[in-house]
Symmetry: C2
Subunit: 129 residues, 2 copies
Amino acid sequence: MIYSKKRELVLDYVRAACTHPTADEVYAGLRAGDADVSLATVYRNLNQLAENGALRRITTLSGPDRFDGNITPHLHAICTCCGRVIDVPRAPLPDLCSIASAHTGMVITGMTLVFHGICNACSANNKAH
Amino acid sequence: MIYSKKRELVLDYVRAACTHPTADEVYAGLRAGDADVSLATVYRNLNQLAENGALRRITTLSGPDRFDGNITPHLHAICTCCGRVIDVPRAPLPDLCSIASAHTGMVITGMTLVFHGICNACSANNKAH
DNA sequence: AATTAATTTGAGAATAATTCTTATTCTTGC
DNA sequence: GCAAGAATAAGAATTATTCTCAAATTAATT
């Protein structure tokens, strides 16, 4: 993968954001700044950056994927009301992957652990249905 | 929610399947049988049934949602190669939700824990890239 | 700095998964 | 069996994402 100015813009944007932005938000944010990128380029680069570990992809239950520039080990909680993603420090866990591997015979390459709930803002706003 | 024959068909189909079918697979399966349902009805009912706990929704990282008629507590491992979902017995876990709740102040309503890996069939077939 | 080969980009079409709309058809209580 | 409310069919619409390919960028070489 050779250097590209657009990829650097995308990476910098996600790293600077503390909002775990979606592809669309990255696109809009760069456009609102002085950057001239296309949506396809944003998607392409987010995928590449997540693929090679520069970013983390956060797959939400419903709604678009989000991206996290903070790749240090931590977990996420997603508000089912507004979609916001909140960081959660990683708690000590038993070695679940080994257990899964032993039980299924699969080669386990990873694990996704996400919390769901109502964030403070939504609780305060009584937006929760 | 009043009774409906179509909803019963959908629920029975997912319960009988051991494949964690997608909405499309449920639709095709019912159509292949003698059932006359529309795709929208399959989606609507899968959503309702998952909502009220009769089924479990399995959100995969990429690809369509899958549904599980087995609602007893267990985990899932998803093959990143073929998309198949394999059941994993629930291992004892620390109370992660309380930890997340304490750290974020959110009302935590649930947690998703999914394993990713390569299933036996894909390993055997060397399909894994 | 020009040449070239490989890579990336832009713009919009295409795709995939799901939801919405509305007229019609069930379901249930009376 | 009728009325009121709920569910359905069919396909249009929406959302999120990927694909296509000609044009632009990058990096290595002259």
